[in-house]
């Protein structure tokens, strides 16, 4: 864990809406991502979990430059991503790539797999015809697909195969970081395992760094070295996967883990269904989780809890005034 940070996110913020109408009336604004600071080290897999609407995908889009942050900075190896993406988007695309959730929709239906995979080779790496041909074979081999598939169209593939092509396309540019936005959510369980295993092999073979976004806790646990739990656009908890799943500190992480169905576990402990979710247009001044939290006190409603480290585990941070300590049952 002495590797320096490859990707550094500092206080990133993305606000949608806002601004004024023609007559000066204030428009409502949604803080999709606010005050997130994260480091991604070279060669690790950072898992990002959270419920829908917590800002996972927005954060991913900020990292690959598909969206620009309204505040804070995202630096890659010391270079500011936003400035970089404005000046030369290709330079960024060569180092950071993205894999989308819906495998079939993310491939152009009118182009053959060869054209799809050649595009990054030609435009980002500028390879000539022969090297391209060689590289295509390597790519198809890397994701376990027969080279004959190159001349077919995306609709001829099953979901799992299409997702592997999506991964091959991301690999084509020879990037250092791949952002995977729910890469296996749309796949069947048996296919999901194939894709997860391929991702694992590729990471070891090419020394890749992954940012892995998913709402499925068990998938995140099985692939990640470190995990960030998001709630309402903010970081709720950050730590090694082992610590987060074995000894979660934030009550929200506890709730997530308690709610996940596990084969062989008969009863689920649901939270009280009457809790109100915070209004994104009018966020509470204090902790956004307060309304659902069993441990909340007055201090939680007044100010945002800062990230604080666990005793003996400086890596394991939680944004909570009353974190669950070890050896304690929440």
């Amino acid at each position: 864990m002495t590797e320096p940070a490859l990707l550094k996110i500092e206080n990133a913020e993305r606000v949608f809406g806002g601004g004024h109408t023609l007559f000066g009336r204030q428009l409502p604004a949604v803080h999709a991502v606010q005050g997130i600071s994260l480091n991604v080290r070279k060669g690790e897999t950072l898992g990002i979990v959270g419920e829908s609407g917590c800002g996972k995908s927005t954060l991913a889009r900020l990292i690959v430059g598909l969206d620009t942050p309204t505040g804070g900075s995202i630096t890659f190896d010391g270079i500011d991503l936003v400035a970089e993406a404005k000046r030369d988007p290709r330079k960024l695309a060569r180092r950071v790539q993205y894999v989308f959730q819906d495998p079939v929709a993310s491939l152009n239906p009118r182009k053959t797999i060869r054209t799809i995979l050649e595009t990054p080779l030609r435009h980002l790496l500028g390879l000539d015809r022969e090297t391209r041909e060689e590289r295509l074979k390597e790519l198809m081999d890397a994701v376990n697909l027969a080279p004959e598939f190159l001349d077919r169209f995306p609709h001829e593939f099953s979901g799992g195969q299409a997702q592997r092509i999506g991964i091959a396309r991301a690999l084509a540019a020879d990037p250092e970081v791949i952002v995977l936005d729910e890469p296996v959510s749309a796949l069947d369980v048996s296919v999901q395992a194939q894709v997860l295993n391929i991702l694992d092999d590729l990471r070891q073979r090419f020394g890749l760094t992954y940012v892995f976004i998913s709402h499925d806790l068990s998938v995140v646990e099985s692939v990640s070295d470190r995990v960030a739990v998001l709630y309402f656009g903010r970081l709720a908890e950050l730590g090694t996967a082992q610590r987060i799943f074995a000894a979660p500190r934030h009550p929200y992480t506890h709730l997530l883990l308690k709610s996940a169905p596990v084969p062989g576990k008969r009863s689920l402990i649901p939270e009280d269904a009457n809790t109100e979710l915070p209004d994104p247009y009018n966020p509470p001044p204090g902790c956004a989780f307060f309304a659902r939290c069993p441990r909340g006190t007055d201090i939680c409603t007044n100010a945002q809890p800062p990230l604080s480290a666990a005793a003996g585990h400086p890596e394991h941070q939680a944004a909570c005034y009353h974190p669950v300590e070890e050896n304690e049952d929440a």
Partner: protein
């Protein structure tokens, strides 16, 4: 004159487009009839479980597309006792949804048709019932909860209107009375402030809340059987836990039987008493949830359990199933799983393999089931 000319050219263009459209051949553009056609070649005579609420015997559903026949469901037997929850698990394309939709004739015809078997709701054969009778039973004795609540609910009517319609369609009652009953239903599914919520539109509710409205609608007429087709797949885990415990509590209160379709073994262990594993249109293993999960006898069940990551066991290498399920218009002889099976032997590819009992209601469709001693 110009108008007539333009319209006639349009009409001609539409005609040419429709003739050339490949989708038309499969019947996707023809309007489906209100109920699946039943053309049964063989009709089972006797019920094996006379006390059950719902019994399905040798159900076969086919899709006729061009000259191909896709046997989506190739002979399913299952039964549901009052208040029981049976889970159907399988990959996509294994025929779980088609099984559920066949019961109430919801499979679109053309191209679908029920070509064999029987489904008894108490003592009534659903496939022999008249269209009018089926219309009465839908939503009354047998209710469905679908995966996507947003497309189940009509976006232009308030949820109150839709609940009241569901009530008044089956029982004559005054509107005020129906309104009160609708509010009561919402309270039953733990929605706070039901009287106010009745006035809201589907888009104003969260995903979990919408699914609760769909469950309320399924409960509206004291259904004997609720068919839940992946009701929690589109929801967050916290909401999923709420919905599952709600359904579990409701079936105990009203003794309605639930046919629960899912692909998640975690969800199965949370709510189902018994489970049936489907592969290529047939049940390959059935038994109590505990038996099937702890000691699966069919190699497919074992593989399916092993390929899912389990919370709390991150170091487990996922054991992916190689290959793909067979296409159901060209099923191999013998065991459909033989091509992907690690324990395949020469006689797996011939004849029909029966569902052989292992005792205690546990059955497996395999010639060489996993040994009970080595299973776990």
């Amino acid at each position: 004159m110009i108008f007539v000319l333009v319209m006639s050219i349009n009409l001609l263009g539409d005609g040419v487009r429709d003739v050339l459209d490949p989708r038309l051949k499969s019947g996707a553009l023809t309007r489906p009839v209100a109920r699946t056609t039943v053309e049964r070649k063989e009709i089972p005579e006797e019920r094996k479980h006379p006390d059950s609420t719902l019994e399905v015997s040798d159900l076969k559903t086919e899709f006729h597309i061009g000259s191909d026949i896709y046997r989506a469901v190739g002979g399913i037997d299952l039964h549901l006792n009052p208040g029981e929850c049976l889970g159907i698990v399988g990959e996509s394309g294994s025929g779980k949804s088609v099984t559920a939709m066949s019961l109430m004739g919801l499979v679109p015809t053309p191209p679908g048709r029920i070509s064999g078997g029987a489904a008894w709701l108490e003592d009534e054969d659903l496939f022999a019932a008249s269209d009018e009778r089926i219309r009465q039973l839908r939503g009354a004795d047998v209710a469905h909860v679908f995966q996507d609540p947003l497309s189940t609910l009509h976006p232009l009517f308030t949820i109150g209107d839709q609940l009241i319609e569901a009530l008044m369609a089956h029982r004559p009652m005054k509107r005020a009375e129906a309104n009160a009953r609708a509010a009561e239903l919402l309270r039953l599914v733990r929605i706070t402030n039901p009287a106010e919520r009745l006035k809201s539109y589907p888009h104003e509710l969260s995903g979990g809340m919408r699914q609760r409205v769909c469950i309320a609608m399924a409960l509206a007429n004291d259904a004997k059987v609720i068919i839940a087709d992946e009701p929690t797949t589109a929801l967050d885990v916290t909401v999923q836990a709420q919905i599952l415990s709600l359904m579990d509590a409701l079936r105990r209160e009203s003794s309605a039987a639930i046919l629960f379709i899912t692909h998640d073994f975690g969800v199965v262990s949370a709510i189902c008493d018994r489970v049936a594993v489907m592969y290529a249109g047939r049940i390959v293993e059935t038994g109590t949830t505990r038996e099937v999960l702890e000691a699966p006898a069919h190699p497919y069940t074992r593989k399916l359990i092993d390929c899912v990551p389990v919370l709390g066991a991150p170091d487990r290498r996922l054991d992916a199933i190689e290959g793909r399920p067979p296409v159901v218009n060209n099923l191999p002889d013998g065991c459909a799983f033989a091509a992907r099976c690690p324990r395949v032997r020469s006689d797996c590819g011939t004849g029909t393999i029966p569902l052989s009992p292992l005792g205690g209601g546990h059955g497996v469709r395999c010639l060489y089931p996993l040994n009970p001693d080595t299973r776990s």
